[in-house]
Amino acid sequence: MFIQIEPQSDVPIYEQVTRQIIEGIARGEMKPGDTLPSVRALAADLGVNMHTVNKSYHELEAKGIIVIRPKSGAIISSTEERALTPDQLRQIEKNLKPVVAEGMVLGATVEQIEHMMKKVFADLQIPAEGV
């Protein structure tokens, strides 16, 4: 699975790494039980500091998407392991709020936003070419 980092972007690099790994899992390009490369190796391949990758892995762990085990590395959790908790749902809602609010202010209707959500969902379910 390929990820693509843009160092000149306003989005911090660790955030880009986190988002793209999550997207890859959503697409099914990485399956539960798959191992992510070691922090050291991924940092070398990206040409960034180890702390950047470490931060991203810890964020993924805090979200319950991966499990970091000493020696064997970062492993993607299975669906049972990452069963959706009310806490996680609340967090997603919180993250969505500013985006929906922006749409409202600009005049998007409920139908339009609903349609958008369905489209994003469908897009992620179709295995994409490359990234």
Binding site: F2, Q4, I5, E6, P37, A41, L42, D45, L46, G130
Partner: protein, 365 residues
């Protein structure tokens, strides 16, 4: 004999200089990053062709001068060797100057035509690449270390039967031509040199393993394949050289303990074997490198390109990037790898064994 060996080395070096523009990545022309969108610029192809013609032409001229003046200066050996070295370095200087001129020209062209402007620069990484890395494990590089240690112990056990003069230098025909008085230190200096070189080879391979697997964003699958093969063959090449050197130095050390081994030209085949492995492994590496090189048939129409790292490459040759955790990166003009001079780890891997080697040669050779 000397002329023969030297002519071979000269021709090999010349051949390397000539093929360089055609084995390095096409996205790098004379040490300057060329975006995929401009890769088939007509000026670049012309420059490469001209470079090969000029380096090849002057190389042949120097070779003729070398052979003729070598025979004319026949009685004086020091003059002869000066001519040999002089011609080799003149050839290398010509190719360096031509490289430099072309490097400047491509840089100018890039600036004038505004390549890389308005193209998004990204870095692509394959998360599964590491699990497909086929570099040899460290245990392969640890084996010869054991041989060196064993040889040191063996030398100590047979110290009394060694002759009073220890050979420390050998001529091209495999005969010793310099000796030192026997002490415990000079007796084991050869296996000690061996140990240091083996450590260096191990360190280099290990550092390459920890260095980046770089992928071209517009040609992901092919460039990944190229990277994995490059790393694999590089580790094989280093291992071969390490083993060949171990065999050569072991034989030389045994010939110090059992002087009857040196009678006649008995050692010559070992020297030839070592040279063949050294040159042969480089040759195979270059062939493999060329086979897996990512080829472009036309300019690529894409919104993204790989990150332009020109500012970290001084003159397109010396790499200094503080942010990059990689210790070794592939050369941008030439065969092989070069060190990231801004990474202190590299100084330990290369510098420490080198320092010990220097100390050994000062005190024992």
């Amino acid at each position: 004999m000397l002329l023969g060996v030297f002519t071979t080395i000269y021709i090999m070096t010349l051949a390397m200089q000539i093929v360089v523009p055609y084995i390095v990545r096409e996205t790098i022309a004379f040490g300057v990053t060329v975006p995929d969108q401009n890769i088939k610029h007509p000026v670049l192809a012309k420059m490469k062709k001209q470079y090969v013609q000029l380096v090849g032409g002057s190389g042949i001229v120097f070779l003729i001068i070398m052979i003729i003046s070598y025979n004319m200066l026949a009685p004086s050996e020091s003059l002869q060797s000066m001519v040999l070295m002089g011609c080799l370095f003149s050839m290398l200087t010509v190719s360096m100057i031509l490289y430099w001129v072309n490097h400047q020209k491509v840089s100018m062209l890039k600036k004038q035509e505004q390549w890389c402007v308005n193209i998004k620069q990204v870095r692509a990484v394959d998360l599964t690449a590491r699990s497909r890395d086929e570099m040899l494990p460290w245990s392969f590089f640890a084996v010869p270390l054991g041989i060196s240690v064993f040889l040191m112990i063996y030398t100590m056990l047979h110290y009394d039967q060694m002759p009073n003069d220890i050979a420390v230098h050998w001529g091209p025909s495999g005969e010793a031509d310099a000796w030192r008085n026997k002490t415990y230190f000079t007796a084991v200096s050869l296996p000690l040199v061996m140990l240091m070189v083996q450590c260096m080879m191990w360190g280099i391979t290990d550092s390459i393993k920890r260095s980046a697997i770089k992928i071209a964003v517009n040609r992901k699958d092919e460039s990944l394949e190229d990277q994995l093969k490059t790393r694999k063959y590089m580790s094989w090449k280093i291992l071969l050289v390490s083993y060949a050197l171990t065999i050569l130095l072991t034989v030389l050390q045994l010939s110090n303990i059992y002087p009857s081994m040196t009678v006649g030209y008995k050692l010559l085949p070992v020297f030839i074997f070592f040279l063949v492995v050294l040159i042969g492994s480089l040759f195979i590496y270059v062939l493999k490198k060329r086979k897996h090189r990512v080829r472009y048939v036309a300019n690529i129409d894409s919104q993204v390109m790989d990150i332009d790292e020109d500012r970290y490459w001084k003159g397109g040759l010396i790499y200094m990037n503080r942010q990059d955790p990689s210790v070794f990166v592939e050369k941008r003009f030439g065969v092989g790898w070069t060190m990231n001079l801004a990474n202190p780890r590299g100084y330990i891997v290369i510098g420490l064994p080198f320092l010990v080697l220097l100390l050994i040669s000062i005190f024992s050779l």
